[in-house]
Amino acid sequence: MTKGRLWKRSLVVGLLSLLPTIASGCAVIGGSPQSVNRPAGDSMRKIWDLFVPIFWLSVLVFVLVTAILLFALWRFRRRPGEDRRPEQLHGNTRLEIAWTMVPAIILAIIAVPTLSLMFELDREPGPDALTVRVIGHQWWWEFQYPEYNVVTANELHLVVDRPVRLELDSVDVIHSFWIPRLSGKRDVIPNWDNVLIFTPEEVGIFPGQCAEFCGIQHANMKFRVVVQTQDEFDAWIRQQQQPAAEAPADPLAARGREIFLTPANACIGCHTVAGTQAQGKVGPDLTHVGSRGIIAGGVLENTPENLARWLRNPQAVKPGNKMILPRQLTDEEIEALVAYLMSLQ
């Protein structure tokens, strides 16, 4: 086989091998609960609508450049044994001015909607907006609703079609708040009063996670956003506003409460349960932990089995996290604690 044939054939094989990747890519993208091509909030919808035409423009540019490249390589290849010296052409000023102008014009076209959308995304919402204070902790999220006097963790409840103004702060290092299907990112920086504004447009549960590397468990600093109708949201708020139940009727849960509140067990050093002497501020507020869908910064679904697994050895579930038990809990203690925590609805 001649060299020319070899490279031509390899080129075809090479390109063909890329095709299935690209083709199947189109079919198998968008399947994630975090896929941005299925936006469920106004911010992400506008961003995606800006992206799509720029994407097709990009495809056009790439196809054009690659087509010229491949054609030139094929058309002007040196055949075996051929020894020719082409005309020593040094350039063409008109052509070069033209291809300086073309990208400039394309970029100007991209710049206009880019800048206008950017200003639009930062526009302050009306007075009906829901304000939530988002506080980043290594490696979990705290959500405070100042107008309702509600504090929760790892699960953000929002109202469909009601604009939300998230006030972002961090107690330790820099994090970044990201709910891919609802909005773009905004960094969560200690002492910076960053704000993220958007309007959820679909009822549902949308996962999000920290997007700025923030230490050993950055991967597991996850949360979920529950977008509800106004009625569902109001019901949730009413439930969250109730103080934690007094000593529960279930004797197992009552035993768990006793273990939880014993200072030597150190639970109350870090956690709050409203209406008890547990007022720690280091870990998540547990007043209504039983009502949440996830625990441990979104690593585990909130089930009795998972809660027991967590209490048995938090460092095995999420290595490096800040929950250090003073001693190994017994199975009996874990069972009681799970009963108590799940009763905190």
């Binding site: 060299k3 020319g4 490279w7 090479g14 091998s17 890519g25 993208i29 968008g30 399947g31 975090q34 941005v36 992400m44 961003i47 992206f51 720029i54 990009s58 790439f62 450049v65 690659t66 010229i68 490249l69 030139a72 390589l73 002007f76 040196r78 051929e82 020719r84 010296r85 082409p86 005309e87 020593q88 350039g91 063409n92 052509l95 291809w99 300086t100 990208p103 970029l107 710049a111 800048l115 959308l117 950017m118 200003f119 990201w178 891919p180 909005s183 773009g184 990112k185 905004r186 200690p190 910076w192 960053n194 997007a211 590397f213 923030c214 050993i216 950055h218 597991n220 290595p319 490096g320």
Partner: protein, 653 residues
């Protein structure tokens, strides 16, 4: 006469091979040291990449724990940028810039050796962290206050990173200074600025970028060091500091750094495409000025790495606009490379294939870069896998593919042996396929909302397929890179029989034997136009580039430079040629003598870094400052020795 003078010189420094390499100040030997050292680091950085891809090959994987993963991705980035791409570029600066401008060495040969040794020792300091189980774990960008506070990063990990990078920074700055002065002062007669090969131009521009950008990194690292060691609180929000200041300092360095990594490869492409097309570079002036404009703009775009920080829409608008502007000169370069191929007589050698694939792959990276410049789109894409895809298309699809092209192109000149073309083409195709298989699916993962720098993901996230594909691609890419090493090692065992000019080259390095003699040029060449050697071989229809008489001051006519006598006063090119001929009589080829001091200075500098790391350790803390003192003493003594070391041996002055 030349021969006998050289023999004399050689005899004077007859030493063992090891000592010769340790004390060499020959730019070609230093280039070869850079070459093999950074290729060895490429294997380490590549291995780390395979560890990353192995951890992410399936969801919920436990192959690496979170700590190990964070160390691995931090070191992968740090190694590939500072220990692989930059020094590989430096290898080619060292070996080829003097040859391409017709010089016998760089301006400061011993400083050049120092740069290499400081680079090697700084790299080893950084890598030694693995031996102590304390590899850096804060990302290559080392964001404060995660890195600046011992509260959040208590180990020695970040100390190794800060000290290693500081030593590497000194090496880099010294090297940039050296190449800047070399290119400005040491050009052969007739080599006006606008006749310089584009690779030399891009080296010059890169040197300026390094000189202006690295001080910002140095200052930032000093502040992190002070926060960690002396409690200065620059980046501590609890004490009124601001961690975002680090981001500004880092990216004011970090974005020009991207062009420090890509402009030299663009220069390589601009040499390789013309050679294998047998045509001059299309639009030389445009390509050169595009490089300069890119470099200038690169200092005004840093905050596009920080769009999500919340600087506000007005600063974001400014940085978005400057970032889009930078795409214009980049686009110009791409069109000019296509124009170079167009109408040529293209020879499908491995070097050309790599260079041509650079155009396509770099275009993908450039286009996704324009997407990031659109701030709202960046709110989504930043810190997602879309960005990981983007910069690998720029740094692998751009820098490394061009460097591979340069290896196939220049290996014969460096080692006197032609690399195997069949293995080379296999390497090329496997690389192209493996590369795209690895990095193209990362765009999809970005659309699917996968963030960067996560050590694991759960099965329910729908990221399984593309992570699997990317990991398979990475193994293929790893295997293909091994083929390059097989090819080089196989070739080095063959006899050194490469011709002086195997590719019908256009620039001066092809006018001398492969490998070149120690003194490079028997006679300092006289340059009559752009593509100097091509003109000598085939004549020129017209002389290209401004002739020396119009730019007398910059035409290499430099009476201060005894190594490189100019052609004399105001000679036109014809006269210059005859003047040059008279210099046949110049037998005073002076080769600078070898020296130990560059090595000991670099070692002393690194010892200071080692001492600072020790100071932070629990067990060796008390030894820390004494070791720093020892390092300082070693640097001072070495510099004194260096200063008083005779550089002109008797009888050669």
């Amino acid at each position: 006469m030349v021969e006998s003078a050289l023999k004399l010189e050689r005899a004077r420094y007859e030493r063992s091979a090891l000592v010769e390499w340790l004390t060499t100040v020959d730019h070609k030997k230093i280039g070869i040291l850079y070459f093999w050292t950074s290729l060895a680091f490429l294997l380490i950085g590549g291995l780390l990449a395979l560890l990353i891809r192995t951890q992410l090959i399936v969801p919920d994987n436990t192959f690496l724990g979170p700590q190990a993963y964070n160390e691995v991705f931090t070191m992968h980035g740090t190694i590939m940028i500072f220990l692989v791409v930059m020094p590989l570029n430096a290898a080619f600066f060292n070996f080829f810039v003097p040859l391409m401008i017709g010089a016998r060495d760089v301006a400061f040969p011993r400083l050049n050796a120092f740069s290499y040794w400081a680079f090697l020792f700084g790299s080893l300091l950084l890598l030694s962290s693995f031996l102590f189980g304390a590899a850096p774990d804060g990302g290559w960008f080392g964001y404060a206050n995660l890195t600046s506070s011992r509260l959040y990063s208590p180990g020695l990990n970040i100390d190794f990173w800060v000290m290693g990078l500081q030593v590497l920074g000194v090496a880099t700055l010294a090297s940039a200074l050296n190449f800047f002065v070399t290119i400005v002062n040491m050009r052969a007669p007739g080599m006006s600025l606008m006749r310089m090969p584009v690779f030399v131009w891009m080296t010059l521009v890169t040197a300026v970028l390094i000189l202006l950008a690295f001080p910002s990194l140095t200052v930032g690292l000093v502040m992190i060091m002070f926060d960690r060691y002396f409690g200065t609180n620059f980046f501590n929000p609890a004490a009124g500091g601001d961690p975002v200041i680090w981001q500004h300092l880092f990216w004011i360095f970090g974005h020009p750094e991207v062009y420090i990594l890509i402009l030299p490869p663009m220069g390589m492409i601009s040499e390789i495409l013309p050679t294998f097309s047998r045509k001059p570079l299309f639009g030389y002036t445009f390509v050169v000025f595009a490089g300069i404009v890119i470099a200038f703009l690169s200092f005004g775009v840093w905050a596009h790495h920080m769009f999500a920080v919340g600087l506000g829409p007005v600063p974001n608008a400014v940085f978005a606009t400057t970032t889009m502007l930078i795409a214009i000169p980049t686009g110009v370069k791409i069109f000019n490379w296509l124009g170079t191929l167009w109408g040529g007589a293209i020879e499908m050698k491995t070097a050309l294939l790599f260079a041509a694939s650079f155009i396509a792959m770099f275009t993908i990276g450039g286009i996704s870069g324009v997407m990031h410049a659109s701030v709202p789109i960046d709110y989504w894409q930043t810190d997602s896998y879309f960005v990981v895809a983007h910069f690998h298309y720029v740094l692998f699809g751009g820098s490394l593919l061009a460097i591979f092209a340069a290896i196939y192109y220049w290996f014969p000149k460096m080692f006197g042996r032609m690399l195997d073309e069949r293995l080379g083409k296999l390497h090329f195709w496997l690389t192209l396929i493996g590369f795209n298989l690895t990095f193209f699916p990362m765009h999809f993962l970005g659309v699917d909302g996968m963030p960067r720098r996560i050590y694991m993901y759960s099965a329910g996230m729908g990221w399984d397929l593309w992570n699997l594909v990317a990991s398979i691609g990475a193994y293929l890419l790893g295997a293909s890179t091994l083929l390059l090493f097989v090819n080089m090692l196989k070739t080095l065992r063959k006899p050194a029989d490469a011709p002086a000019d195997p590719w019908d080259g256009r620039t001066l390095e092809w006018s001398i034997p492969s490998p070149p003699p120690a003194h490079n040029f028997d006679v300092v060449p006289v340059v009559r136009g752009r593509d100097a050697f091509w003109i000598e071989k085939y004549g020129a229809e017209e002389v290209i580039g401004p002739a020396p008489e119009r730019h007398g001051a910059e035409a290499g006519h430099n009476p201060q430079n005894p190594h490189n006598p100019g052609p004399g006063e105001g000679a036109g090119h014809d006269q210059a040629a005859s003047h040059g001929a008279e210099h046949h009589g110049d037998s005073r080829i002076h080769l600078p003598p070898p020296s130990w001091f560059p090595l000991t200075t670099g070692a002393g500098l690194t010892l200071m870094g080692i001492g600072m790391v020790m100071h932070a350790s629990d067990t060796l803390g008390s030894l820390g400052f004494p070791v720093v003192g020892l390092g300082i003493a070693m640097v001072v003594v070495s510099l004194l020795g260096w200063t008083f070391e005779p550089i002109h041996e008797e009888g050669h002055a």
